[in-house]
Symmetry: C2
Subunit: 162 residues, 2 copies
């Protein structure tokens, strides 16, 4: 099987797929009488035509490395943000779109504690992949009535490993 | 000083102030080949006229009980969701609006691990009050150019205690 080697997640490496939302660098504002800082408006939220913003929770089973990656999915009509409700790293898999709009070679990233991700609308990505219990995440994504899910199953699965 | 005794946070007790978003009860969907459940669209998101949804981070200094509560604030133009990026409890203070739109007697709630809150537009609430390090939260609220902050300073502060 083709291998995908896990990389550390950085905003730069992830920039063509979405936003890394993290308390890094200079905050934008200091609020609450100096007791709090705000990193302001750090993700490109997109809920498409006729969609609206929803807040949901995902609770997933932790996975164990190495992982067999058989498919990726995308949401053409909206962005999707994953906010870990914990301090554990999780796995983020994405793939570029080729000239036909199909996923190219996947990339795998491991988050650092405190990092959230927001997939741009249309970004091919793996399903939620926690590595620890609880696999609990808040998800901010499009609520709407039109189809917003594409799946792509690879002819040959990939192995994702450290 | 008048005392506010901290209550456990429940969806029912909080229902007139906002949503408690938590992985409780039956999930709405099972996804990812059975490996994940989705608690779907669990908050009343509101970004007002001319506003849009933003994803920000707040990093706050942990407080120590008892707390002196001198003020509350509200955002008349939009809801505001707080998602802890950790499993620690935090303090949530709210107050009902009286007939003049001013805050009545405050109430204080302590979250359980995994609970998020979403204040309805116009709900009087305290500032972010983590009790542990890291005081890191994702915030989903209105991004816009019109005023969206009211503050009310109490004539006499309250003491918030367990």
């Amino acid at each position: 099987m083709n291998k995908v080697i896990i990389e550390p997640l950085t905003a730069e490496a992830f920039s063509s797929f979405g936003n890394v939302v993290e308390a890094a660098g200079e905050p934008d504002y200091t609020i609450n009488q100096g007791l709090c800082v705000r990193y302001h408006d750090r993700a490109k939220m997109d809920f498409g035509t006729g969609g609206r913003c929803g807040l949901s929770l995902f609770l997933g089973e932790p996975l164990t490395l190495p992982i067999k990656l058989e498919m990726v999915e995308c949401h053409p009509e909206g962005s999707q943000a994953f906010i870990p409700i914990h301090q554990n790293p999780f796995l983020v898999i994405v793939a570029p779109s080729d000239a036909n709009g199909l996923p190219g070679a996947p990339r795998a990233f491991l988050t650092s504690p405190g990092q959230c991700v927001n997939y741009y609308a249309g970004t091919w990505h793996g399903v939620l992949m926690p590595l620890h219990t609880p696999g609990l995440f808040a998800v901010v994504d499009r609520i709407g009535n039109t189809p917003n899910l594409k799946e792509h199953w690879f002819d040959e699965p990939f192995t994702v490993e450290a």
